[in-house]
Symmetry: C2
Subunit: 305 residues, 2 copies
């Protein structure tokens, strides 16, 4: 057991840290999502967002904000905004014209329950709501922070982030990608929003040193890629009931993955290497309170769903 | 001919005013949209946005900004952002699960050319790009303006704006809406983004009087509704070639419209009434330079496509 492991990864301590924060996030999402929206739209938005998911992105925002000592109100809004972007991407990803999936978080997907048009609109509205949450007009969050958060989220979600990665993914089915191409796809598809979540947490404070911000970006990039490597592993080794979504989809769809490229053992070694990279970045950040970020990195690599 | 008409509505003067501004908008969109985006995504985004459309929303932003004497750089970004939101909504609206339309601006729709998944992602990426354009990190736009613009755009695009209106529209096919219900649907579906464009233009200046802002909102609301009434009229009286999209769709889809509700003459009278409301709002705004806004209101009501 390394020093890092002793210091950072204690599932019980992580749970104790995250539990009250997750309660805040759930309560805020329930207060902010799909309220006063017309007809079934609000219901579909709430169905897509509430009561499900690991909330990894919100936790990354809140842990990074804790590391830099930022504004709690801004961080809570940023945490919810990242989850809305994530949720909208799942809703659209599950549509028949994309992955055509009918099971998500153990429930029927949004389009199965609300129809394709309803799911399309719910996803669209969730993306807009993310930016609405980041820009309260009541003076509770400084304008400079609002602007930074919107910039980071838009970049992470857009054509040079998540949406761009999905486009590469779409164009890659059946192709033999090499590792550099696979990494580039995942760096955008899932990595951009995970890294963006860390950066958004850090953006809730003023005057964070450039070195620390760069180290947090490196942490986010390594963690983002590790997340995808582990996803690829779980798609092979876990069953649908544990995952809460259809397992074995990648092989079935002939999608290139870290497991198809590196083998199961190779992929596991890669995940551990990325964990080490993430922890090293935190160590050189010069930030005092990175325990939660360290624990989250361990959790991402050790998770079983 | 009323004084208003003499003063405000001169197609040649409007063209002279708008031509250099439209050139700026086209050039900015071409510089900002779909550049360095992966694979076909950038191409689909550019196809959806460039070389087409009346650019009414950008012109409303720029005219409102002119009326309040705001920041030109902020207004150009806001103008482009409103057009991106409009363009994304058309891409998603045309999808088979929504209106299933194959012709737009005289060209095959995005999903016909790039596939459904490609169109879905292009729309998603365009929405994110709108917020990216509003939040440059180079100090060229004040943070307070960035935050206001994001807030207004997110509200206009989301579940209590455009997306909400589309959800009502979807739920209304085949229903006998009364005029209040029809107005509420259109107030959100097309009105919110048109009114939002006016408000975003006004948000590019600091210290605009609350009365003036309220009057501009009223102008935007009246103009937004007038736009839809005229759209309903054109769907009946114009042909597809002139419209650049499929005419007669409303009746075919059994959608409630102002023409089905008020008749053709009644709808025309309603459009004139809304024009008068819009002009009256400008007159009470206390703003000196509203000529462009006045001319745009006339253009919206007098247009033939």
């Amino acid at each position: 057991m390394t020093l890092d492991t002793v210091e950072a990864w204690d599932a019980a301590r992580l749970a104790a840290w995250s539990e009250p924060l997750l309660a805040q996030v759930e309560s805020a999402l329930s207060r902010w999502v799909g309220v006063d929206s017309p007809v079934q739209l609000g219901e579909a938005m709430r169905y897509a967002v509430l009561d499900g998911g690991k909330r990894l992105r919100p936790l990354l925002v809140l842990a990074a904000n804790e590391a830099v000592g930022g504004d709690a109100q801004a961080a809570l809004r940023a945490a919810c905004a990242t989850e809305l972007i994530h949720a909208y991407s799942l809703v659209h990803d599950d549509l028949p014209c994309m992955d055509n999936d009918i099971l998500r978080r153990g429930k029927p997907t949004v389009h199965v329950k609300f129809g394709e048009a309803g799911a399309l609109l719910a996803g669209d509205a969730l993306q807009a709501l993310a930016f609405e949450l980041l820009t309260p007009g009541d003076g509770s969050v400084a304008c400079a922070v609002q602007a930074r958060l919107c910039r980071l989220l838009a970049g992470a979600a857009g054509s040079q982030g998540m949406a761009g990665g999905q486009a590469i993914d779409l164009a890659s089915v059946g192709l033999a990608l090499d590792e550099a191409q696979l990494r580039q796809m995942h760096r955008l598809k899932t990595g951009a929003l995970l890294q963006g979540s860390v950066e958004m947490g850090a953006a809730c404070a003023e005057g964070v040193a450039a070195d620390a911000l760069a180290a947090l970006r490196d942490y986010g990039a390594a963690l983002g890629l590790a997340f995808q490597v582990v996803d690829d592993i779980l798609d092979v080794v876990a069953d649908s009931a544990t995952l809460g979504k259809t397992a074995g989809k990648d092989a079935e769809n002939d999608k290139p993955t870290y497991v198809s490229l590196l083998g199961l053992d190779g992929a596991r070694a890669r995940a551990q290497g990325l964990l080490a990279e993430a922890l090293a970045a935190l160590a050189r950040s010069g930030l005092a309170d990175t325990a939660a970020l360290r624990a989250l990195a361990h959790m991402v690599v050790d998770r079983d769903r």
